[in-house]
Amino acid sequence: MSLGITNINNMAPELPVQASEDLLSTPMFNLIHSFGVDQHHAESYIGKTTRMSRFERLSTDGGQLDGSGLDPASEVPVRTDIDAPMEIYAKSIVTNEQVILYENSKTLTKFTALLGLWLREKEDLLMRDLFSSSVSYINATGGLNGDQPSNISLNDVNNVENILLGNDARTLLSNLDATQMIGTAGVRDAFIALASTNLSADLQRVQGVMLKSAYPTQEGLRPEEYCSISRFRFFVSSKAAKTPGISLRGNTVYTVPMYGLEAAAKIEQNKYTAVIGYRPPWVVSSVAQNSQLYAKFAIARAITNQNWISGLKCTTYLPS
């Protein structure tokens, strides 16, 4: 055997590393807080605040004519106004030219994609905050973990359904028909419920739960959907609202908004829905070495009908 073997010890590779054929995925949380709300648009040049108005229904009391010729009392209609001012959010990335020069992965393209992701994630969190701040919730009490609020149960879910139906709320999602007349079950038209992914184990335990995989069809379902309980279809996100250490026993309390049609609204500013831009190096830097990417969007948000939104506060069966 020759002693003069050329190996990777005495001749290391010219390039110590190679990039794989594609980048790994950028994590993105489930965006569940926007798709179920009404979308409105604000025009430019006519103020910052958008007013959404609703005429309340007339009273059905009385109204019969008794034949005397006397007119029944007239009624003054009531208009309820919901206001929401536009707010603008922005983020930027300043990049030195050497990054662009040496980096292998088309950084500006990737950074633009990151800004796009930020835009949608930020919008989702803003809508989450609306739900968690400005809505009345009821503590779940039907669970067996002995905490206040308890873990979620069928009774708690049915209680919220009673509230929404009693307030004449309309369902958002249409029914899914059974694919066979025998042996499969359909999913009724449903309200929406938004929950933390930490509740997924508890959701599976609720009496009567139908996991998404058992739906009669998977066509058109959102990936964020987890299950159906009673008249609600549950969507989960790791960023759903929660408050640490606030239960009777000091555990995390999760907020689960549950709502129907036209309960909340997102207002977009025309021509300002999603602005992504680039400032070249000769603008950003005196020696033209740094460039800047930015993303901006304008949004206003409101609870448009408190009768059609309610929800639960709950803990998890196992403390969290």
């Binding site: 309820t80 701040s133 400005s134 009821i138 206040q148 609020p149 606030i246 009777l248 206003a300 609870i303």
Partner: protein, 336 residues
């Protein structure tokens, strides 16, 4: 090390905690007590906070470096979280906001009207506290209350008339932001009278959140007695900052009595009674010359608490100083 001072200003302390809004965020924050700097007391004259970019050298929540004067005008430097503990700097980046505090134990909550809490504390009048893990008075665990008549040994809850409840013997509190992520926020209801125009007491001063003419939507579980009020919407016709009450145009005179569920029914009794903002009806009263429905300060749904911000603890040993102290502050953002 290059750095840029991105913001700075001064304020005259009123003896309560102060929030400094920081739109560009901050890596370093400093306060100087101009008033006390010239005097000979043993109080905090300068505070310094180091942000997360300093890694292992970053300041802990509710802490930071404290420069105190000895009586001889010599400087002693320690941290706000030393044995002589006092509130320091808390940098808050997300809403809803819990201004960092370690668990603060309650020793008693009286079953009186208003309820009085015994607790060693550094809170200020008007602070809002979240109560949790209570013993005895179980019904209020999870609620927020605004506090008044604060001393280092306790405070009063104007929003809780606790006669009839079991006195609390233990529990914990943490201070939270007065504004939630979005305003107007929902409020906890602690009392509703039976009257042609119901008077509603809330756990915090409602005048900071709602305004006359706004509509509010009630959520009152049956465990609170006045179930007839549940899911009704009324218009606010009067408010009292002193009593934490609002009057609504709902006739509750024939309703059953509102009462907190008994402690013995916890944890199965449904909680809580709340109200949530439900818009307004824009109207003009030609007799009183009062117009409602165009209040753009309280009525619209909007961001409640801007983040990030720096919370400065109050008191002679803290960065926001004692009443009438003039405080200079600077926020810096490093380039590297």
């Amino acid at each position: 090390m290059p750095f840029t001072i991105i913001a700075g200003d001064s304020f005259t302390s009123s003896g309560v905690g102060v929030k400094i809004i920081l739109p560009s965020s901050a890596d370093y924050f400093r306060t100087t007590n101009i008033t006390q700097m010239a005097l000979s007391g043993t109080v905090c004259v300068r505070g310094e906070w180091f942000g997360p970019k300093f890694g292992v050298g970053a300041s802990a929540a509710n802490s930071g470096l404290r420069w105190r004067k000895a009586a001889s005008h010599a400087i002693l430097i320690d941290s706000f979280s030393t044995a002589t503990a006092s509130d320091g700097f808390t940098y808050v980046t997300v809403s809803p906001v819990v201004e960092a505090q370690s668990a603060n134990a309650i020793t008693a909550i009286t079953a009186a009207s208003p309820a009085v809490v015994s607790q060693t504390n550094t809170y200020s009048d008007g602070d809002i506290l979240q109560f949790y893990d209570t013993t005895g008075m179980l019904q209020i665990a999870g609620m927020n209350f605004q506090i008044s008549t604060v001393s280092g040994a306790g405070y009063t809850l104007i929003g809780l008339r606790a006669v009839g409840l079991t006195a609390g013997t233990a529990g914990y509190t943490r201070r939270i932001s007065k504004m939630l992520a979005v305003e107007p926020q929902f409020l906890y209801v602690t009392e509703i009278t039976k009257a042609t125009q119901a008077v509603v007491r809330t756990s915090v001063d409602p005048t900071a959140y709602y305004v006359i003419g706004m509509k509010v939507h009630f959520s009152v579980p049956t465990s609170f007695g006045m179930y007839q009020m549940n899911q009704l919407t009324g218009t606010i016709v009067a408010m009292s900052s002193a009593n934490y009450t609002m009057t609504v145009d709902i006739d509750s005179s024939a309703f059953t009595t509102f009462a907190f569920p008994l402690t013995t029914s916890s944890p199965t009794a449904a909680l809580f009674a709340t109200i949530a903002p439900a818009g307004a009806s824009t109207q003009y009263n030609p007799v009183t010359n009062v117009q409602t429905g165009y209040n753009f300060q309280y009525q619209p749904f909007r961001t409640g608490q801007f983040t990030p911000y720096m919370y400065l603890g109050a008191g002679a040993a803290s960065p926001a100083g004692a009443a009438n102290d003039v405080i200079d502050w600077e926020a810096c953002k490093y380039e590297n």
